[in-house]
Symmetry: C2
Subunit: 223 residues, 2 copies
């Protein structure tokens, strides 16, 4: 076992089961819009598309369903989730509850390395903004928020919140991309709060950030 510890911890750990690869790929296809909201997902087709059998696809679909990306009706198939304005507001309500908590926890436990990583994401976002690369920007936005939750150290929260952030990215991509530049100045404020280990401040920065995103969504939705 001694000699295998290296190979099993590097190679073994990186060899993901197909179900996970499929789940990641399906998320990407949905977030990227290649699978449109409301679109029917047929197991055979997805399996063939990805070059796997139906079983990994089915298992991935259970996960995606639990995360809210798809909706499954017994014996009637699976569909990419749609998000009505009402459901978007529902999502914002949950974000308003969880993002301030995540920010506070991050502020209380972030070290210099974590703060630096957040700042690095911010820098990459500036580059993407200059390039007008909205897809990369959306991914970076997700990375930023996900990482805040990871820093916080509450794994249960992170498990819930990271899929939530991805759902929000989907919304961001479909309706509020125009807000991108403004959003990143708010991120800067959140990093400052986390750096200074000020839980209250981080909480209110996160709250204001989500409120601003919601307001932006409401404007774009009512236009």
């Amino acid at each position: 076992m001694s000699s295998s510890s290296l190979s099993s911890h590097t190679l073994g750990a990186t060899h993901l089961p197909l179900r996970d690869v499929v789940a990641t790929e399906l998320r990407r296809l949905i977030l990227g819009g290649e699978l449109a909201p409301g679109e029917r997902l047929i197991e055979d087709r997805l399996a063939e598309l990805l070059g796997v059998s139906r079983n990994p696809v089915r298992e991935a679909m259970r996960v995606l369903s639990a995360e809210g990306f798809i909706e499954v009706t017994a014996r009637r198939g699976a569909f990419v989730s749609t998000m009505s304005a009402q459901e978007a507001m529902n999502l914002f309500d949950v974000r308003l509850a969880l993002e301030p908590l995540g920010a506070r926890l991050a502020a209380l436990s972030a070290g210099p390395a974590q703060v630096a990583e957040l700042a690095a994401i911010l820098d990459r976002a500036r580059l993407a903004t200059d390039d007008g690369n909205l897809d990369a920007l959306a991914d970076l936005n997700t990375d930023f928020h996900s990482y805040v939750f990871e820093i916080g150290g509450n794994n249960y929260l992170a498990g819930i919140a990271i899929p939530m952030v991805k759902r929000a990215q989907w919304l961001f991509r479909h309706s509020a991309a125009a807000r991108a530049p403004h959003s990143w100045t708010e991120h800067r404020g959140l990093i400052e709060a986390i750096r200074s280990a000020d839980g209250e401040f981080a909480e209110s920065e996160a709250r204001n950030h989500v409120l601003a995103a919601r307001a932006s969504f409401l404007r774009s939705a009512t236009d």
Copy 2:
């Protein structure tokens, strides 16, 4: 289609796929303690135990994993989740964020029928308390909190919060059952707040309820 609306909504809807039956049963076994924390879950054994093939079991396991009831390591099997004191505190942090939100939403949208249902659960809980039936009491506690989230009408929140409530029930059963009677007087206050459609009040009642539960857990954990 006119005549089928009745039959399809009753018969068809109640014919659950095996994966759902299995998932429900596994949750019950875990919550009831028949599958102990840390216990290895072997697909073959579960399949034989439940009289199904491995496939529905595997799909149910993906769901349970997403809900946090089990932990799966690639090619190394699945285990019933353990909950360290730290993880319990993590759970309480999330409950503190979500339960007040759920209570507020419930207060804003509950009708008389919903309030009556909550009161009915409370009555059943009194009977269970008198009988000293702790298992029934734990189930009723879960029903109560789940129903509050359902009343609120935010399906995304409910989808996250109801598994969370079940996780808390697990904790309740294993460490804080003694608190049961006290807990129900707090529920009464929450019902009042919901009945009077007072969102702020409901929020603070829910918050105090979770805080009291956490305090009780801390006492029992440090004893």
